[in-house]
């Protein structure tokens, strides 16, 4: 019987291992996701913490799949936008994945 604190710790280790695996497979620089996500900060706030009341979406803590879906929908034109359809096309699918990873991990 695993105590809940242990379970949490195991989940954390598993998540870290996963993040590490996907990171190292794609990225030559271990901070590639961080660097790519920083290109979003001008509008969406440092580490995705948009200024409250600024009218722009805070991305910090958005679940990875949800954010990636949104970015892909912008990129493919499924989701209408003022500007994100043009910006998302500038990033490869791998890069969008790293960005989504990074923001999902922010509190």
């Amino acid at each position: 019987m695993i105590r809940s604190s242990h379970r949490r710790a195991l989940a954390l280790i598993a998540a870290a291992a996963l993040a590490g695996a996907s990171g190292s497979a794609l990225a030559k620089d271990p901070n590639l996701g961080r660097n790519l996500a920083a290109t979003c900060a001008n509008c969406h706030g440092t580490n995705g913490q948009a200024v409250p009341g600024s009218g722009l979406d805070a991305l910090a803590g958005t679940p990875r799949d949800k954010l990636l879906q949104k970015l892909n929908d912008f990129k493919t034109g499924v989701k209408p936008a003022t500007i994100m359809h043009q910006i998302s096309k500038g990033y490869t699918d791998e890069q969008l994945g790293l960005i989504a990873d990074y923001f999902a991990a922010q509190k």
Binding site: A16, A19, G20, G23, K28, D29, P30, N31, L32, R34, N35, L36, A38, T39, A41, N42, C43, H44, G45, T46, A50, V51, S54, G55, L56, T82, I83, Q86, I87, S88, K89, G90, Y91, Q95
Partner: protein
């Protein structure tokens, strides 16, 4: 004069102590990077869009391992973006002014209000106008632009520059230009002279012409806005600007391409063009520009004797490694604008590279930067231009990603809200 180097060392030791505590509790993060913590002292010259961003991100991404000193001649940050709304009377100078306090208290950046007058790249020191020197392991210059007054000879003195304004650096000039417009009679002519590209903020002059036209249309409807453009055509968001002038300011805005300024008659408020003279009631001259003087003084290699040649993986000067240059001062990559947004993006490439280099790692081999510029064509109507630039290893510079970027479908009110939200977020990304 305090011994600044000694002060640094003390800070450095404090930071090192804090870092080893953090290091022991953050085993996971340390494993992911696999590198030793970055150290060293970085001096940043210029507290504008590039300089503030690099100062903050160096502290944040190095876990405060890198010591940062920022030298800025002005007491507060005053933003050029949104400053055209001050010229038009929709905002005040307070709305575009942010203090450096957040960088000091939140990020532990040492901010010195002073001017750097010389750089000794061999000794790795900078000289301050008020006396003393600072030594650095790496230097970052984000000095923005300075004006090529020799190309507008009559304006090559302080007295003339106080009468014929540029307002192309935000601050007292912005307020003074507003005052000239307020004092102008109904039926007056506001003429704005635009230099040949490249200059700071390609759409900025057209934005200014538009919002000044909006103000005049509402308050002094017999007046005119005359755009004297040295370029062959509107160089940014052309169709959208021309449509706004046609739809909103017919009979007010007149656009004249190929109108290069040769000089000015200061007393007569007259723009002297090659084959013409244009008398105005308010004459606004945006002079040709080059890198901020300090980068030229430092002996960095310039292209066309104007812009600093850099290595795009590290943002270092090509002839002076260890000196990184950001923002308007650099020779831009293809289609890359001189914008605040872009200076902020340069700063993040530089911060990541400096941290890697200071911890014995290669810089990121595939940096990406992107740009967004919003322009107001009326108080509540905005158009954007956007682009994404990805490093091309063969060309050794970032290239615009084909198929990405573009402009607004049409001017709209939603983006007027977003533009102000952009400003709030980028100022926070730089300064808090």
């Amino acid at each position: 004069m305090p011994n600044l180097n000694q002060f640094n060392r003390r800070d450095f030791i404090k930071a090192a102590g804090a870092a080893s505590v953090a290091g022991s509790t953050l085993g996971l993060t340390a494993c992911a990077g696999g590198a030793s913590k970055a150290r060293g002292h970085v001096v940043v010259v210029g507290g504008g869009y590039g300089g503030t961003t690099v100062a903050k991100y160096l502290r944040m991404w190095s876990d405060r391992g890198i010591d940062v000193t920022l030298v800025e001649r002005n007491a507060n940050f005053v933003s050029c973006p949104i400053s055209n709304l001050v010229v038009a009377g929709y905002k005040g100078l307070d709305d575009i002014t942010v203090s450096y306090e957040g960088l000091k208290t939140h990020w532990g950046v040492r901010v010195i209000k002073d001017e750097v007058t010389a750089v000794d790249t061999a000794k790795r020191t900078v000289t301050l106008a008020q006396g003393g020197t600072l030594s650095y392991d790496r230097l970052v210059l984000s000095p923005g632009v300075d004006f090529q007054w020799d190309q507008v000879p009559a304006l090559n003195n302080a007295d003339a520059q106080g009468k014929i304004l540029h307002a192309w650096k935000a601050g007292p000039q912005t307020v003074a230009l507003r005052k000239q417009l307020e004092d102008m009679k109904d039926g007056g002519v506001f003429a704005i002279s635009i230099p040949k590209a490249p200059y700071r903020c390609p759409p900025g002059p057209y934005e200014r012409a538009s919002v000044v036209a909006a103000y005049l249309k509402a308050k002094k409807p017999k007046s005119k806005v005359l755009i004297l453009d040295a370029n062959e055509e509107v160089i940014s968001k052309k169709a959208l600007f021309m449509k706004a002038w046609d739809d909103l300011y017919k009979g007010i805005v007149e656009y004249r391409p190929n109108s290069q300024l040769t000089d000015v008659d200061v007393a007569g408020k007259t723009a002297l063009l090659e084959f013409d003279k244009v008398k105005a009631d308010v004459l606004n001259v945006i002079p040709p520009q080059r890198t901020g003087e300090i980068a030229a003084k430092a002996g960095l290699k310039l292209i066309n004797n104007r812009w600093v040649d850099i290595n795009w993986l590290t943002m270092e000067s090509t002839n002076t490694p260890g000196v990184h240059v950001l923002g308007d001062a650099i020779f831009p990559a293809p289609t890359m604008p001189k914008s605040g947004h872009m200076a902020n993006q340069h700063a993040k490439v530089a911060a990541a590279a400096i941290i890697n280099l200071q911890s014995g790692q290669e810089p990121n081999p595939e940096p990406v930067v992107m740009n967004t510029c919003y322009s107001f064509v009326a108080e509540k109507s905005v158009i954007h231009v956007a682009s994404v630039h990805r490093y091309d290893a063969e060309k050794k510079q970032p290239m615009p990603v084909a198929g990405a970027g573009g402009v607004s479908a049409a001017r709209n009110e939603l983006e007027a809200k977003i533009a102000l939200g952009w400003a709030k977020n980028i100022w926070a990304d730089m300064l808090t």
